[in-house]
Subunit: 193 residues, 2 copies
Amino acid sequence: MQLLEDRIRKDGKVREGNVLKVDSFLNHQMDVNLFREIGKEFQRRFAGEEITKILTIEASGIGIACVVAEIFNVPVVFAKKTQTKNIAGDVYTTKVESFTHGRVYDIIVSKEFLGKGDKVLLIDDFLANGKALEGLATLVQDSGAELVGAGVVIEKGFQIGGKLLRDRGIHLESLAIVDGMDDKTGEITFRKQ
Amino acid sequence: MQLLEDRIRKDGKVREGNVLKVDSFLNHQMDVNLFREIGKEFQRRFAGEEITKILTIEASGIGIACVVAEIFNVPVVFAKKTQTKNIAGDVYTTKVESFTHGRVYDIIVSKEFLGKGDKVLLIDDFLANGKALEGLATLVQDSGAELVGAGVVIEKGFQIGGKLLRDRGIHLESLAIVDGMDDKTGEITFRKQ
């Protein structure tokens, strides 16, 4: 998606250790006009698929998922990272390893909001090791819902997540795939799509 | 807001200990069509105010804030609850006590995304003790930005938060104010607005 790649080149910051900071428009400050264009692109890429629900994970996926959901005209469910007393006991749950935060956490979705008959599109801002999206796919599978695909804004193409999900047979659409970054020059190489 | 009160009566669940569960449409599963109507109502209530940025707090505020921001045509910034390595060191921070989770946490906003010249509307799903919104108001104050007001979807009118914020001189708009709940009958009493 050219508009997105241009924006990443303009406002993204490459940091040591293959860190790509896009917090000025994607995951801390959020440009909702860009999100709407992202939603239209997902609509184009998943045209012809029946989608009844969008599933994402807190926190930074939620904003994108909601704007995308307006375009698909479906509700969003977001998986929570810890069990609070406001969540019913009856939940689907799995463990997810976070490399960013260096820990393993539980993600949960109430059984009320995911189940047989739902046709689910996963949405997230980033795909690197793929642990979060694999966890969401597991929740969908456990619930008996149908997994239609996964839409990701930025995939780090040099990390394993994209391959893991595609090998699992998941229809994955990444709007920008970063194949390389140079923290000395700030240069970012995108995969041709 | 009649549409919202009707929805809370229809789909909200009253639980012991003054818990109002609205997770089927507001803060776990999210009805983005309702969010759009919520956004239009905030636009009506803050008509004539200049707003350049919406500030919310993770996680459940983010979805509402993004849909509202589309209507106001401004970016969203969300305060994060813990410091991760992807956030620059240069942040505004304050402490917030969570009654739901029974702990005190730090909230942070990068200094890049909040400062002099910003005219900020706070958005959140719930107002009870007011700690989260007070924390956000403190971050706005610390940054030198102007606090235009705060928009809340559901205020628990029998808790102290609304009074705290209004006494502080903040223009607070709550779309539904719950003055009482009965967990035996499920009855919910809304304040006339």
